[in-house]
Each structure stands twice: as structure tokens, then as C-alpha cells.
């Protein structure tokens, strides 16, 4: 049956091809997964466990697979941790097992198995302590982790799609599709996300009938109907998370991180129909290759025609074991025994009793109140030890090559819980189901703890209709489809077989993280008995399966160890994403240089043409200096600054925030917003202006220009532009709601070129159109006027941030490059942000380094602006005592005491005697070409006066430097140069 060509399965095509696993070639059929093909080729050993390096085979047939995780590709270009049951093979694929060296069959680190408990829960707190943890750290780090990251990320580009719909249904099984049918028939726009490449879910291997026909045929017809009604069916797409009404679904075609799509869906109603995950049972050596979930064996048989065993023991605690055994036996598998943990009397349904009778007649032994005590074997299962669930009496050994186990099902409830929903314990199914859900979230089918097909159809029909109504569609109830499938489970909770303490180290609960009953016992005994603590202490529920297999099982065993009911212990919170999603999928096309949005000034290309070395400041790209990248920035910047001081230069100030304020109440509004009044400003004049926050701290500074009697333009610092606009809008709405004033962000509307230097006027005037020259020539400091350049209108403002004679030229963006060219042609050289910083530190002008949101007007020496009697934003709190305490800092200038030593911004300032207690810090520093020494600005305790010498401590960069407190303005203190 397992030959490549003769296998028959629902998912198999006709073609055959070869693939490579750990250096050996194997044959596969079109449609095979890595797990099915390897099983068909007789490969049972597919991986090693993470800590003890125990041999592991495939446990499941789904994405929750904890053992058979493979690396696809070579070491340079590979994808690690691909679940073998999900990976659809194609010709030539290169697969490697993980967590082994040098080979899967012989792994050096498997010697750790002999160490027993040395890698138990919290081992890093208890072992490897002598002589030092660091002695062992390299080895442990080498062994840790799932798989290895590739040398380079060469994954194909992923894409993101945002869309909305009326009803989103997660899961394309009978429950989801019945709900989808009801909703689409009511006229709702429906989207179904199904993680498999085809619809049906568990129904694929049940002998189910719906509306008198085979369930699969019914589903095929239903898919046609859904398509014709405009429903969107997304295959190989799993709902992995969501928040705030947005649901995230991830499409991973072929189970391989490739050209993936991340769907960000905004549904009006979200119906979770993602089924349930079958749970393992815990017995000694339950991790041997050959121990598998019962449903997995059925799936491999039905989907891929793989008979996974010759002789098997079925071990379960519910009715479905009998239906499954019947099907597996019919498929040619020899069932040695059904080990049922329940008493015989637990089987009440006639259909199950009949199945059991039929199985017994065919020679299959049914054992009640029995359990698999242990699996026997080394490289794989060779026998099962079976005994009483009480741990007493005779233990039988049944020879077999597989043990198929089923401990019940855990409903998939992550979608609601991740958004704040709660879960409740249902004893009848020994599982947690969704309880309180976020708005417009519903759960249906096995995901809601309903496992019988007819009940599922009833519930799904009602949910589908309710979802349609919630989405605004009129909907009258219609009867649900008539269905019959496998019998109800009649499950009785059973979690682990009795075992002596020493054997608990081999009773595995979480296969992926090697968490055993002994680990859980250790956690409880050491005080980590709360489920979230136990999870973190033992790693229970970590990794790619996120506790889907082990979560409830582990919680139940902790409950047993604590002697408390399971519902009191609860389970740990499920986290996003539901299954592994590559970071590349989350980013979509926004990777590399496009990772975040970038703003460019109208002069961006011009800067590049001039040799500008661009750097990010916030979202903006600005020229840091001009010349070769990597050149001596300090030297180039000093030359640029010197050029401004000697002849002149131009810089791009387009990034300054610009807000236009207009209307009859504009002046009153600005009077309230600024510490410095606007109403006294004359038209054509500008003023340095400072904003405070409500708490009295300085928010920003800038210039206010009065453009007309009721029209102003405010400039803000680059870094605070967005915040200032929000600040304006807030007070306009909150305190000027009835006033007549408008606010508009005009930052992008105007490019700003600053022309500065002693010869800047001579450079500017000739390039302006004739009529503009006299008014511009007559401008006094802080005056502005309109002028024309090459047909474009400019606003020429005489203001300076360099201490030189300077003008800001506000021009249309399209004219900026030609204006800059004309100024360069007139002898002005461009200077970058580094030079600008030197110039402003020489003059003691402030930037975000000083306006940090933690300084008051008094700290910054702005008392002169505080003569107003009327209220403005922040004024109410200016008199609070804390603002006037001696411990408050004050802005000062600093220079090296010896006149030449270097110091940098960020250095802490300490007294010469007491070097352990900072008395301030340096906010800005520069090597001044005009003064030939390092200068800076600092915030220091008020008690330290001018002339005092203190230490600038900078242990990671320059060490200690003695600095002297100096006046804030280092250069041209009278301001004569800019008023020329």
C-alpha cells in the first residue's frame, strides 16, 4: 500500500518525483506532504527533541506538529522549522532534520539523555554552576533553539491585503461552511479562511452523510454555491490573530514561507469555526517514533494513502476510537487492541456498541479501564505495556509498531481570547471553550466544543443566520442540513498513566520543549504552581505549536499535582500568532530601505547633486554635510561653518513646521497659545515665540509672522512640527470652540532656503526681480516682505539662526532648486546640518536638546518673556514652588577649562570634589572654528555660577574633562553681526 505509485489518497495526484531528506533521495507523489512521503518511504525518525535530543517521529498531521520540524533548503538559503505535515513537496526539494549533530541517527548531544534530570525545568538556575555558568554557556547556546537561521534572508517578497467583509469565517469545515451558506443566502458578503488546500476539515475521514449524500460531495456542491453567491474562499490561509476589530489571516501556500500573503480583514462579524486539536495522552516513553495521534493515522491514510503501521494499539478515552478503529482495520491495518480508559458501561450509544461488537468479532481486543503504561522500543515502538488505570495488577505487553492515542480535543479558541475573550471549562468534554467574546465574535462547531455532526449543522445554521443579521442583512430562519457522522465522543477525562516518580521524566507532556510530568512536578514543588508561572518555568506551551497539544494536558496534570480541579487551574493565555508567521510576511513590501516612510524636501535631488550626504532626522532626510560620505565630517562641517561666518552660505530649512492661522480671532488665539503675545505684532514683522505645555514646561520655540491683520504664519522646530499642529488643533477645539479662527498646516506648501553670512544680502538682492530689491534691502532684523524671483513669489524674512546677517526665503517648492542654484551662483555655498549646529551652539540658540520637554522657561533663561499679566497656556503653573527650587537646572555655556580639551553632548557634569553625584549634563557641543576650541551648552544646578570649573564625565567616549561655566552666547554676544 505504501509504494509510491500504488497509493490512493484524496490529496494525491498522479505524478511522481524525488526529493532529498538528510542527503538521501526519496520518491514522492504529487500532493504528498513531507511527512506523508517520508512515512510512505518507511522513515519514522524525523527529528530530535530540543533538550534531551530524543528520537522523534511525526506525531500529528497538522500545523501543530511538535516533532517533525524540518529545515528546507541549504544552509545559505533555507527556511527552518517547517512542519513536515504541512509542507507540500515539490521536485528537488532539499530537506534536513534539525537538532542533531552529526546525523539524525547518531547525535552526539543525545548523551544528555543519560544525564537524566540535568536539563529539567529551570536547570539553568540549578546546574552548570561550577566553576561558572559561563563555562557552559557557549555549549548550551549552541544546543539551544529550534533549527538554525539562514545566512541570508532570501525569502520571496510577501504581500499584504486589507479588505473588509460582512462575515468572516475562520475554518472551512462543515461548521464554517454551513454558517457561510446561511450568511451568503441572506445576502452577506462572506469570506472563508481555510488552512488546508481544500474544504472539509475532519469530515474527510469520517463516514458522514449530509442531506442524503456523502459529506464531501455535499461540501463540493456547497463550495460551488458559495462561489456563485460571491463568497471569497481563501485556501491555505489561517487566522493567526487580530486586534481592535481587525483579523489577521496568513496565507502560506504549500506550507512553506514563500510568496505569502498577510490579510488584514475588518469583518462586521467574525465566526470562529477552526475546529479542535486532538490531544495526546501521557505515558512513559510516549514520545517514541511510532506513537502518533489517532486522527493523524486516519488523515495519512485517507489523504495520502499511507498505512502508517502494520500492528497498532489504539489508546483513547472516548467513543471515536471505535469508529476510527473500524476504518483503519478496513484500510488493512492490524489493530492489536483498543485500550479504553473508561469502563465498558461508559459506552451508551447503540452505534458505538455495535461497532465494538463488530471489532471484537473480527478479533480485535477491547480493554476497559486499562491504560498504556509505557511504550517499549529504542528507535521506535516495538510494544505497548498495558495495565489498569489504577496502576495496580498485571501489566501485559502487546507487540506493535505504533500506538495511536487520542485524549480528547482542545477547541481552537485563540481568535477570541487574543482579543480579550475568556474561556470556560466544560467537564463533559474535558476542555475549555470560548466564554465571553469580544463584540461580534462567535464560535461554532468543534471550536465551540460541539463534536457531533448533526448538532454542528444545527448550531452553524443558526450562527450563520445570526451573523448575517448582525451584519445588517434580513434573514429568516431555515432548517439546517440533515447530517449524520461519527458518534458523540462520550469522553471521560484521562490525562496520564500511573508511573513511579523515576519514570515521570519519560512521561512527555510538551513534546517540542521536552516538558515532562517530572518537570511540572518540579515547578509545582518549587512554587511555580500558577499556570502562567509553570509555563515560563518549564517552557510548557512555548514554541511553534503554542500549547495547542500540551496546554490543557499540562494544566490538567498541574491540577492533579496541586490537588485542585482543572477549571481552577485554568490554562495559560494564548498568544499571537496562532502559527509561525515570518517577519517578512508581517512587513509585506515594506522592507529594507522602504521599512519606514521617509520625507524629502523639495531640494532633496538638489542636495544629492551638490554632493550632500543625507541623513535621517525624524522622518526627514536632510543634508548633514556636503562632500564624500565617510570623509572627515568634523573638518568639512567646520569649513562650511567658517564659510558662513566669512562670506555666506545657504541651507535647507524646509523641514521647519509651518502653520497658518487666520480669522478674526487669530491674534487672540495665538496670544493664548504663546508665551510671547502675537496681537502686539505689526503686519510685516516677526517675533521669536515660545510655547509652553499646560504644566508650564517649554514645548517648542519658533517665529510668529504677522501676514495680515488677521493672518499669521507660525514656524516650529522640525522635530515638534506634528506635535505643535496637534497642540494648536487641541486648543482651537477645546478653548476656542466658538471663536472664528482657522488653522492649516502649510509645512509642505513652502520650501525654505536660508541665506546667511556677511555677504548674503549682496548675493540675494541681484537675483530678485527689480521691484523686489528695495524692500528686501530695507528689511530690518525680524522684518519680512514679499518679493519675486523668476516669476515666483517669495516671502523674505530677515531672521537668523546662525548669528549672521541672514534671510529665510519661503518659496514655492517648484522654485526651490532654481533659487538655490541662483544663490550658489552668487557665491553662497551650501552648508549642512552639522555646520548649522556649530553655528547655533556658538550663538547659544536652542534645539530639541535643550527643549526636551523637561525644561521650564526659568531653566532656559526666558524670564524676560514672562512679563505678561494675562493668562496663556502654561501660565497657571509657572509659579509653583518646584519651578523655583535651587535644584532646578539652568542653561549655561561651557568651555574646556584648558581651552583645548574635547567634550561631547551627553556627558554628565559632576563637581570636582564629589564625582558621584551629577549636577547637570551637556546638552550640545561643537568644535567652534570661530573660537578654535570646544564649546557647549549645558543644564547645570543653579548653585553653580559662571566661571566655576566642574568635570564633564564621559567614561565610554572621552573620559573626564574639566570644563568652565561660561556665558550662553559664545560668539558675537552683542548680536552685532546679524543686525548689520
Amino acid at each position: 500500500m505504501n509504494s509510491t505509485t500504488s497509493r490512493r489518497g484524496l490529496r494525491l495526484g498522479e505524478g511522481t518525483f524525488s526529493f532529498n531528506f538528510d542527503g538521501r533521495r526519496y520518491q514522492a507523489r504529487e500532493g504528498d506532504t513531507a511527512a506523508s512521503a517520508l512515512l510512505a518511504n518507511g522513515v519514522r525518525l524525523m527529528g530530535r527533541s530540543i533538550k534531551a535530543r530524543r528520537r522523534r517521529g511525526v506525531l500529528t498531521a497538522g500545523p501543530e506538529e511538535p516533532n517533525a520540524l524540518l529545515t528546507v533548503g541549504d544552509s545559505f538559503n533555507c527556511i527552518p522549522n517547517v512542519a513536515a505535515p504541512q509542507l507540500v513537496l515539490r521536485a528537488g526539494l532539499l530537506l534536513r532534520s534539525q537538532n542533531r549533530w552529526p546525523s539524525l541517527k547518531f547525535d552526539v548531544a543525545s548523551v544528555l539523555q543519560a544525564g537524566g534530570g540535568i536539563l529539567g525545568a529551570g536547570f539553568y538556575y540549578k546546574t552548570f554552576m561550577w566553576p561558572s555558568w559561563h563555562t557552559y554557556e557557549p555549549l548550551i547556546r549552541r544546543l539551544a533553539g529550534l533549527g538554525s537561521a539562514p545566512a541570508a534572508c532570501t525569502l520571496p517578497q510577501a504581500s499584504i491585503e486589507n479588505f473588509s467583509c460582512d462575515v468572516l469565517i475562520g475554518g472551512g469545515g462543515v461548521a464554517g461552511l454551513t454558517a457561510a451558506r446561511a450568511a451568503t443566502r441572506a445576502g452577506a458578503r462572506v469570506v472563508v479562511c481555510e488552512r488546508e488546500p481544500c474544504l472539509g476539515g475532519e469530515i474527510e475521514f469520517e463516514d458522514a452523510r449530509i442531506e442524503g449524500t456523502g459529506a464531501l460531495a455535499w461540501l463540493r456542491e456547497l463550495a460551488v454555491e458559495l462561489n456563485s453567491r460571491g463568497a471569497r474562499l481563501l485556501f491555505e490561509t489561517t487566522v493567526v490573530g487580530g486586534r481592535g476589530g481587525e483579523v489577521i489571516a496568513h496565507a502560506e501556500p504549500g506550507g512553506l514561507a514563500g510568496a505569502n500573503t498577510l490579510y488584514r480583514i475588518r469583518p462586521r462579524v467574525f465566526v470562529v469555526a477552526m475546529g479542535a486539536t486532538e490531544r495526546p495522552l501521557t505515558f512513559v516513553d510516549n514520545d517514541l517514533p511510532g506513537v502518533m495521534l489517532l486522527s493523524a493515522a486516519e488523515r495519512y491514510g485517507v489523504r495520502y494513502g499511507v498505512r502508517i503501521a502494520k500492528r497498532t494499539v489504539i489508546f483513547a478515552n472516548h467513543n471515536r476510537a471505535y469508529a476510527a478503529a473500524t476504518r483503519l482495520a478496513a484500510a488493512g491495518m492490524q489493530i492489536c487492541a483498543i485500550v479504553d480508559t473508561r469502563p465498558e458501561s461508559a459506552i451508551t450509544e447503540a452505534r458505538v456498541a455495535a461497532l465494538r461488537e463488530q471489532l471484537v468479532r473480527s478479533g480485535i481486543e477491547c480493554l476497559y479501564e486499562q491504560t498504556v503504561i509505557a511504550a517499549r522500543g529504542r528507535a521506535g515502538v516495538t510494544a505497548a505495556e498495558v495495565g489498569s488505570i489504577t496502576g495496580t495488577g498485571h501489566v501485559r505487553v502487546i507487540e506493535c509498531d505504533t500506538i495511536l492515542m487520542s485524549g480528547g480535543w482542545t477547541p481552537v479558541t485563540h481568535a477570541g481570547q487574543q482579543e480579550g475573550g475568556t474561556r470556560r471549562y466544560v467537564p463533559d468534554i474535558a476542555a475549555f471553550v470560548a466564554d465571553r467574546q469580544p463584540d461580534a465574535r462567535m464560535t461554532v462547531g468543534a471550536a465551540n466544543g460541539v463534536f457531533e455532526l448533526s448538532a454542528i449543522c444545527h448550531e452553524a445554521q443558526a450562527i450563520g443566520e445570526r451573523a448575517a443579521r448582525l451584519a445588517g442583512q434580513a434573514c429568516s430562519p431555515v432548517p439546517p442540513p440533515k447530517a449524520q457522522g461519527d458518534p458523540a465522543p462520550e469522553l471521560r477525562p484521562f490525562w496520564r498513566s500511573p508511573a513511579p516518580r523515576a519514570a515521570e521524566k519519560r512521561q512527555f507532556v510538551d513534546f517540542q520543549n521536552d516538558v515532562t510530568v517530572a518537570d511540572l512536578r518540579s515547578a509545582v514543588e518549587e512554587g511555580f504552581y500558577e499556570i502562567e508561572h509553570a509555563k515560563r518555568y518549564t517552557a510548557l506551551g512555548f514554541g511553534t505549536d503554542q500549547g495547542r497539544l500540551s496546554g490543557v494536558l499540562g494544566a490538567a496534570i498541574i491540577a492533579e499535582l496541586r490537588g485542585e480541579p482543572l477549571d481552577r487551574v485554568g490554562t495559560s493565555r494564548l498568544r499571537q500568532p496562532f502559527h509561525p508567521v515570518t517577519l517578512k510576511s508581517l512587513a509585506g513590501l515594506r522592507t529594507g530601505a522602504a521599512l519606514r516612510v521617509t520625507r524629502r524636501t523639495p531640494l532633496h535631488k538638489w542636495h544629492l547633486a551638490q554632493g550632500g550626504v543625507m541623513g535621517p532626522t525624524g522622518l526627514w532626510m536632510r543634508p548633514m554635510h556636503y562632500g564624500k560620505a565617510g570623509a572627515d565630517v568634523a573638518r568639512i562641517s567646520a569649513l562650511e561653518a567658517t564659510a558662513v561666518r566669512t562670506t555666506g552660505g545657504i541651507s535647507d530649512a524646509s523641514t521647519l513646521g509651518k502653520i497658518e492661522i487666520a480669522g478674526p480671532d487669530a491674534a487672540a488665539f495665538l496670544d493664548y497659545l504663546y508665551m510671547t503675545p502675537a496681537s502686539s505684532l505689526k503686519v510685516g514683522r516677526s517675533r521669536y515665540a515660545v510655547n509652553l505645555r499646560e504644566d508650564g514646561m517649554v514645548l517648542d520655540d519658533g517665529l510668529l509672522l504677522r501676514m495680515g491683520s488677521d493672518r499669521f504664519r507660525a514656524t516650529t522646530s522640525t522635530g515638534h512640527a506634528e506635535e505643535m499642529l496637534a497642540h494648536f488643533e487641541y486648543y482651537r477645539a477645546l478653548e476656542f470652540g466658538t471663536a472664528q479662527v482657522v488653522i492649516s498646516d502649510v509645512t509642505d506648501a513652502w520650501a525654505v532656503i536660508v541665506v546667511a553670512g556677511p555677504k548674503s544680502r549682496e548675493a540675494l538682492l541681484p537675483i530678485l526681480e527689480d521691484p523686489s530689491r528695495p524692500p528686501v534691502a530695507a528689511l530690518q532684523h525680524m522684518d519680512f516682505t514679499m518679493a519675486r524671483f523668476a516669476g515666483a513669489e517669495l516671502l523674505v524674512l530677515r531672521a537668523s539662526f546662525s548669528g549672521e546677517l541672514a534671510c529665510e526665503l519661503h518659496c514655492p517648492p517648484d522654485s526651490a532648486a532654481s533659487l538655490a542654484d541662483a544663490l550658489v551662483g552668487a557665491g553662497m555655498k551650501p552648508y549642512g546640518l552639522e555646520a548649522l549646529d556649530i553655528l547655533r551652539v556658538e550663538k547659544g540658540y536652542l534645539t530639541h536638546a535643550e527643549l526636551s520637554g523637561q525644561t521650564t522657561p526659568y531653566d532656559l533663561g526666558m524670564e524676560g518673556f514672562l512679563k505678561r499679566k494675562d493668562r496663556f497656556v502654561g501660565s497657571d503653573l509657572l509659579d509653583r514652588p518646584a519651578f523655583h527650587e535651587e535644584s532646578r537646572p539652568r542653561l549655561v555655556g561651557v568651555r574646556a577649562a584648558n581651552g583645548h580639551a574635547a567634550f561631547l553632548a551627553g556627558a554628565q557634569l559632576v563637581g570636582r570634589e564629589d564625582r558621584n553625584h551629577p549636577c547637570g549634563y551637556i546638552t550640545s557641543s561643537a568644535l567652534s572654528p570661530a573660537l578654535g576650541e570646544y564649546i557647549g551648552l549645558a543644564l547645570v544646578a543653579r548653585s553653580i555660577g559662571e566661571g566655576a570649573e566642574i568635570i564633564a564625565r564621559d567614561p565610554l567616549r572621552l573620559g573626564d574633562t574639566t570644563v568652565r561655566i561660561a556665558p550662553i552666547v559664545h560668539f558675537d554676544p552683542s548680536g552685532e553681526r546679524m543686525r548689520r
Partner: protein, 158 residues
């Protein structure tokens, strides 16, 4: 997707002086409902009510000029010149929706409206419906990034 830059033209932002202006103070053609658009010749959006009490006016139509004069003359609004602030794009072709959906579900976001202020690919835009196409005005400093994103998404496989 075909991306056509719109010709550079004068643009104004018309802002209501009061937070909740009365509709009666506007000319009858003025789109007073939030999200409404007054379309000019050829179905081009001309006056876009892009935010509460805020209109983006592309002066591509002579009638628009008169409407703005009437509105400002009625002393219910101020007009602010934004000539360089926005860069206009016309997006057409069968895959426009898909490309835009990489950033936002534009159709759903607009809903029953004709225009909205929003972000596409993290860039602030005003987006408006055309007949079977979209018009997007992006803040100039973001335009290079937006164009790159649109072109990349237009080129990516469906």
C-alpha cells in the same frame, strides 16, 4: 495600475471659521456633507470636503474659483494657499483596488463617501473616488515614497 501625475495647479484649503458651520451660509453647489465631493468637468474631483469643516479645492475649474469667492465672501471660511503642499495622482486600471488594499481597504474606508483624509502606505493623503478610478493627493514631502510603494505594489504578483 496606471499612475498619472495630475498637472500642477493652484490649490486652496478652505476652512470654516466656526467648528460647526451652518450649511445655509455656503453656495448651493458647495459639498457641505463631510466626505462629499463637487466634481468638475470630466468627472474630476474639484472641491473635496476632506475633513470636518475643511475643503481641499483644486482650481482646475473656473466655476470652483467663483464658488470659493462666494464662500470666502460670505465670511464663513478662510482660504489658504496650498499650491505646493499636495501632489495629485490619478490611479486607474483593473488592479488599483488590489494595490491600494496592500495599505488600506480604500473602498470600504470611503464607504458611502466620495473622499477622505487618510494615510496610504503611511503617507498622508486625500483620496477621492473617480468614476472607476481614484484620485490621490499626497503631501509633497511623502510623494516619492508613496509613488515607490504604489509602483512596487502594482508590480507585485496578484
Amino acid at each position: 495600475m496606471i499612475i498619472d501625475p495630475l498637472p500642477h495647479e493652484r490649490m486652496l484649503e478652505v476652512v470654516a471659521l466656526r467648528l460647526l458651520p451652518e450649511a445655509a451660509t455656503f453656495p448651493p453647489e458647495w459639498p457641505t456633507v463631510s466626505g462629499a465631493v463637487w466634481y468638475g468637468a470630466g468627472g474630476r474631483p474639484v472641491i473635496l470636503h476632506c475633513a470636518s469643516g475643511r475643503w481641499l479645492v483644486t482650481m482646475a475649474d473656473a466655476i470652483a474659483e467663483k464658488l470659493v469667492q462666494a464662500t470666502v465672501g460670505a465670511r464663513c471660511c478662510e482660504a489658504i494657499d496650498l499650491a505646493g503642499k499636495w501632489l495629485g495622482l490619478h490611479l486607474s486600471g483593473s488592479d488599483v483596488k488590489r494595490a491600494l488594499a496592500s495599505s488600506a481597504d480604500t473602498a470600504a474606508m470611503l464607504g458611502g463617501h466620495d473622499c477622505a483624509s487618510t494615510t496610504l502606505f503611511d503617507c498622508p493623503v486625500v483620496v477621492a473616488k473617480g468614476t472607476r478610478d481614484y484620485y490621490v493627493w499626497v503631501k509633497r514631502s511623502y510623494s516619492t515614497d508613496l509613488l515607490a510603494s504604489l509602483r512596487e505594489h502594482a508590480a507585485s504578483p496578484a
